[in-house]
Symmetry: C2
Subunit: 346 residues, 2 copies
Amino acid sequence: MEAAETRRRYVVLAEGEFGEPGSKTAMGVIKYGHDPVVAVIDSTRAGRDVSEWLGLEHAAPVVGTLAEALPQGGKIPPDWRSIIAEAIVNGLDVVSGLHEFVSDDPEFASLAAAHGVELIDHRRPPERHEVAMGRRHAPGKHVILVVGTDCAIGKMTVALELRRAAQEAGLSAAFVPTGQTGIMIEGWGVSVDRVISDFINGTAEWLVEQAEEMGDWIFVEGQGSIDHPAYSAVTLGLVHGTTPQAMVLVHQPGRNGHFGWERATGATAPTLSLADNIRLYEAVANAVAPSRVAAVALNTSLLEEEAAQTEIARVAAETGLPVDDPYRFGPQRLFAQLRASLEEDG
Amino acid sequence: MEAAETRRRYVVLAEGEFGEPGSKTAMGVIKYGHDPVVAVIDSTRAGRDVSEWLGLEHAAPVVGTLAEALPQGGKIPPDWRSIIAEAIVNGLDVVSGLHEFVSDDPEFASLAAAHGVELIDHRRPPERHEVAMGRRHAPGKHVILVVGTDCAIGKMTVALELRRAAQEAGLSAAFVPTGQTGIMIEGWGVSVDRVISDFINGTAEWLVEQAEEMGDWIFVEGQGSIDHPAYSAVTLGLVHGTTPQAMVLVHQPGRNGHFGWERATGATAPTLSLADNIRLYEAVANAVAPSRVAAVALNTSLLEEEAAQTEIARVAAETGLPVDDPYRFGPQRLFAQLRASLEEDG
């Protein structure tokens, strides 16, 4: 949330999901949000503490009842409805990142009016309906899009960590949120997967235009992956709309298939090698504006520390690119290498 | 429109645009629609006849006043508002392909209610919000996506012509409309550029599922182009959502730049060669499911007939693919070659 706004205290609703892969919005908001999270609702983990997952700096109880809602995933799960209603009745504002808007729900809307609380849908797209105009970046701006070999792989985290490193290096830097988690963390942005398809490239272009007012080093959160059977259109809209000078590719060694997709659908789809991913991102990006994959950010969370370092060295040798896990080992080294590489380009 | 529906008689509103590139929806509906067009409104061409552009079989007067609306391009142009209102007051239904829905406009909606006419927005997306599920094509189905090296290049026309050739060859065939013009012609489909980005792949998959009930040879109308700065996300959503066994690539020799885009924006973007287009479409398609560009359909409208035949032969030699202008020289030969090529694949 922006500093100028009233601070909120959050109760995070993650019923049945906390600590699981499906709770990535909850985890991201707790870890990176400006506002404190005072509790998490998950009756299956009631009595535990958020610090078990995210460290002592994020201590907060996991409780089993009543909540302010912060759901994720798309639709309002039926078993969340009564909790959301109870939150409203108890005077809590509701902040949602779902495709199905809580503020458009007649029951919630009338309850909210009766109890004087606010319903905020962070995924609601802007009214703006503009196609991409081929806007050039202002002089001195470095636009870096963080892409991935899959969805839910850590693109937002990498972008936030790289921004931090740029700021620590004394540079002015900005983060461009393109999903509901990033928007909750930063207090601005657009959930681009909710934008009308004809306007996704144009919306991405407009987000970068805004970010250029905020800093010289601009890290854009990518979405999905260029080979994702369901979400690739969103991915490409960001690539062509932001026209990044460079892309950072996030990859998780040990991941099989597409996050949740094969399991949910029973279908199969190819998994591209890291080298093929680099080639395909560069081929599609260069069809509109010059760009290249300038670094690889590995998500080594499935590896022990020594194996992680070995894998980082292996991928660096294989790709000839700067490679690190900026979340696990700090973003400073990867950012310094990325910066040197981009400043060589001029 | 479907045969079972009440037949409509159309008045086409194309003020200031008839016969220009911007009137492609109007031209498509007149040429391929099932229902008769009784007049075109364009005060700058009043007194002329549609047959001057489209031949005697499409004779209809171009007039300068009053209209049933059939606009194109996105927003309701200010100078069309009074004509649309006049149409409603005079008891005409209004059929629109704009992004800005006439039925959501309070003035038009209340006028329509008062005068008992219907406002139909063909670009309104379905309520369906489903992501792509990796559905496999049913056995014996041939799904062919007609893609292009640019937007507004003739993809819908090529798909319609190829379906006709398939039907003439005694095969059961279907056409999948993905834009407002195709929907007006066929009476079903989704204007996919209006769908929420997260669901475009899923919507494309669902359209093919429906088409498989209609025929064995399925020709899907593509949208935009994979290198289009503004519309590429829509293009990729169709490629990955329809998982076509084959793509037919439409190209117009002599076209410079992207249709209308450089002129409207003042920006520039690369133009890929035909060979690079083939490579890029195949690379992105194969990231999700096996596919290939199996034929090239040239739009030779900028060439004299002899030059067109020379260019067709040249491109066939260059690409090693079946090549023809199926609109100018008939679709039978190109379809026969495409069919033989796909049946070889098994």
